[in-house]
């Protein structure tokens, strides 16, 4: 049966779609404007990209919310609602058509991603694979609960989400980094004066066996200066820490010194003051056997529990990253 669509129907349809898209376009324009107004180096292309990102993100948020609402409606209610409005046969046809639309949307999504990434074949392969592994189960779960028409929306969301990054080239991996002075989780400490001491106490569950113990200290960065870190274990001088690589400083305690000890009290001082010689400290104390009281520092006057952040010139609760292991 030939279906004729009048011109006015098409115009009405387009008008409706445009009205629906208007709020998202406005969000995009606002984001563009804000970027131009507040960016330190305003660039039109970047501002437009930001606007597009915000417009799409707002559409994704609104559409996701509508999908979520449908998911929260119990299935029986959907059937009742559907029966109240249209016949069961119409529901079946609608579901079947929507199922085809889901498949078409996902196929179109995969094709779009593939077309956009022809320039980088390996990236293309993992993106199409990832898109399939995410989209197929998601659409299956959503259609079970809310029906295929809702799954069409979900398929469109996944397609937009997966397709958008294809225009970017993020060839540089994000990097982990070490301590930052003002970071609340991890910072570094040093020895501001020659009489400064850092202490770390490790109580043991049972006496140390007759074998050497390795004391490891995690340095904040590779150090190649003239200063050395001198250690005492349970008030006994054991010598200078060696560079063990991978940021570690350490020393092996002879079995004769370690044997039978129930606690290791490790004190560290320096042969000469050098702010470049630093070790790591962190706020989390759960891993230390003595918890929050494991670490302390001597400031030339008295011992204080915790660590001393010399950059911020204040003591901070936490521990030095010092551990003991069997040799």
């Amino acid at each position: 049966m030939a279906v004729s669509v009048s011109r006015s129907t098409v115009v009405d349809d387009l008008t409706t779609q445009a009205k629906r898209a208007l709020p998202f376009v406005l969000v995009g324009l606002l984001a563009t404007q804000l970027r131009l107004a507040f960016a330190s180096e305003p660039e039109v292309s970047r501002a437009l990209a930001s606007g597009l990102r915000w417009a799409l993100a707002s559409w994704i948020a609104v559409t996701s919310w509508s999908v979520l609402r449908e998911l929260l409606v119990p299935r029986g209610q959907i059937a009742a609602n559907a029966a109240a409005e249209v016949s069961v046969a119409r529901v079946i046809v609608t579901q079947s058509m929507a199922r085809e639309r889901v498949l078409r949307t996902l196929a179109a999504g995969a094709l779009l991603i593939a077309a956009a990434l022809l320039r980088a074949p390996s990236r293309l392969a993992v993106n199409v694979l990832g898109f399939g592994l995410l989209a197929v189960p998601l659409c299956w779960v959503i259609q079970r609960r809310a029906g295929w028409p809702v799954a069409v929306r979900a398929a469109t969301i996944v397609t937009v989400v997966a397709f958008f990054p294809t225009h970017l080239d993020g060839s540089v991996a994000p990097k982990r980094h070490g301590a930052v002075p003002e970071n609340p989780f991890m910072w570094s400490v040093t020895w501001p004066s020659l009489d400064w001491r850092l202490r770390h106490t490790i109580p043991l569950a049972e006496p140390w066996p007759a074998r050497p113990a390795r004391i490891s200290v995690l340095g904040a960065s590779q150090y190649a200066g003239p200063a050395a870190v001198l250690a005492t274990v349970n008030t006994q001088e054991v010598g200078a820490l060696q560079d063990w690589g991978n940021g570690y400083l350490g020393i092996e305690i002879p079995a004769a010194v370690a044997r039978g000890q129930r606690t290791f009290v490790i004190e560290l001082r320096v042969s000469q003051v050098d702010p470049g010689l630093r070790i790591l400290a962190q706020r989390w104390t759960g891993g230390a056997a003595a918890r929050g009281s494991a670490s302390a520092f001597f400031d030339g006057d008295r011992w204080r529990t915790g660590t001393f952040n010399d950059v911020l010139d204040r003591s901070q609760p936490g521990i030095h990253l010092i551990s003991v292991s069997a040799s």
């Binding site: 029966a83 980094h177 962190q282």
Partner: protein
């Protein structure tokens, strides 16, 4: 022309849209509360590994995040792959892809990992609730089982590490729910075999729970009366075959795309390879005894959950239906065998959704008994 089979006999009534939201909202709040509590206090269940401490965008991460940070350019960069993909990557492939895509949208690697970990952690709880409901347990038991799963050490201890383990481990309850749904609902044999095969493949790229769920699926099929025994065996074999084909195809595709060589190839060993190595090394009865799980591993499993939790769970499972008991037995046997290959607490806990279902059953039954006892006491004392 479409002939209406039924006119509109039912009136549309506003649906209780917001009612389920309370349950999901409470679960989400529990997840967020636990996550923030752990961020504030640090690891609860492990001693810190100094080498594992570092920062990503100013936030704490485990050293293992390095495996995944290296791979983000594979999804977002046009340059040829600088790193291959070993099992450590393919076993979290969809999560890693999603993390990369979110990173492209947000520009924050740290919060992309958080979103995926938190989202999957929450979905693990939701899936537990629905899986338990499918096993004919009351809503209270299902809700408690979901709460136990999201607050279990296997999930909490991996949050904020950003090696995607929180997301990985939640694929067990999600896979359990999907397996139950598929076996219950898919009527056609070929479709069921295909769906189960795809599920096993998804589990293999979500973590490695396909080996724990395969025997559970076997139990579910064995207890499914609508198929003949030959059909049940054929469905299971077909599913396994499809899974193996899917995994082989994916590995081939990755190798052809330049992701073959990986410097972290040996970080995670293939379970099948490990099992084969172990069995091929058996030369005597004593070797065989060493290969099979012993009492020490059972005790390790008890400690992984906590002896009290495991004891309570066992009581609950004894009083559960045959289906639940057999599923828990199959999953626990698979978990126990896994521990012989890879002795770690999280491996010992591989059957965790079913174990927590047992614990929830006991707790709810005990709670009801206490309430009944209190009511009887009030009645016998003549109080109102």
């Amino acid at each position: 022309m479409i002939t209406p089979l039924q006119s509109a006999p039912l009136r549309y009534s506003p649906s209780p849209v917001w009612r389920p939201l309370w349950g999901y909202g409470a679960l989400l709040m529990l997840v967020c509360f636990l996550a923030l509590a752990r961020l504030s206090t640090g690891p609860w269940y492990q001693t810190y590994n100094p080498l594992g401490s570092s920062l990503l965008e100013g936030w704490p991460v485990a050293w293992e995040v390095e495996y995944y940070l290296d791979l983000i350019p594979a999804f977002l960069g046009d340059s040829p792959p600088a790193h291959g993909m070993g099992l450590v990557h393919t076993r979290t492939f969809p999560h890693l892809y999603l993390t990369s895509v979110i990173y492209a949208w947000t520009g924050s690697a740290f919060w992309s990992f958080v979103t995926v970990d938190l989202g999957m952690w929450f979905l693990g709880g939701v899936a537990t609730y629905h899986a338990v409901r499918r096993l004919d347990a009351p809503a209270t038991t299902a809700a408690l089982a979901a709460a136990l799963v999201v607050s279990s050490p296997i999930l909490i201890s991996n949050m904020w590490r950003h090696d995607l383990h929180a997301a990985n481990f939640s694929t067990m309850p999600i896979g359990l729910w999907a397996a139950l749904t598929l076996v219950d609902e898919v009527r056609e044999r070929v479709s069921l075999a295909a769906s189960l095969g795809f599920l096993l493949f998804l589990l293999s790229v979500g973590y490695q729970y396909q080996w724990v769920l395969a025997p559970v699926i076997g139990v579910l099929l064995a207890l499914q009366p609508r198929f003949r025994w030959v059909e049940r065996a054929a469905i299971f074999a077909g599913a396994m075959l499809l899974y193996v084909c899917g995994e082989t195809l994916m590995r081939t595709l990755l190798d052809l795309s330049g992701f073959g060589v990986d410097r972290y190839a040996e970080v995670v060993q293939k379970p099948v390879q490990l099992a084969l190595q172990r069995f091929l090394s058996v030369r005597s009865l004593a070797d065989l005894q060493q290969t099979l799980p012993g009492v020490a591993l059972v005790i390790e499993t008890f400690h992984a959950y906590h002896p009290l939790v495991y004891g309570v769970a066992l009581i609950g499972l004894v009083f559960s239906s045959w289906r639940v008991r057999l599923m828990a037995l199959a999953a626990s046997a698979a978990a126990l065998f896994s521990v012989t290959l890879y002795p770690a607490p999280w491996t010992a806990m591989s059957a965790f959704p079913l174990i927590y279902l047992g614990a929830a059953t006991t707790c709810v039954a005990t709670g009801r008994a206490v309430v009944r006892g209190a009511q009887q006491l009030v009645q016998s004392l003549g109080l109102h």
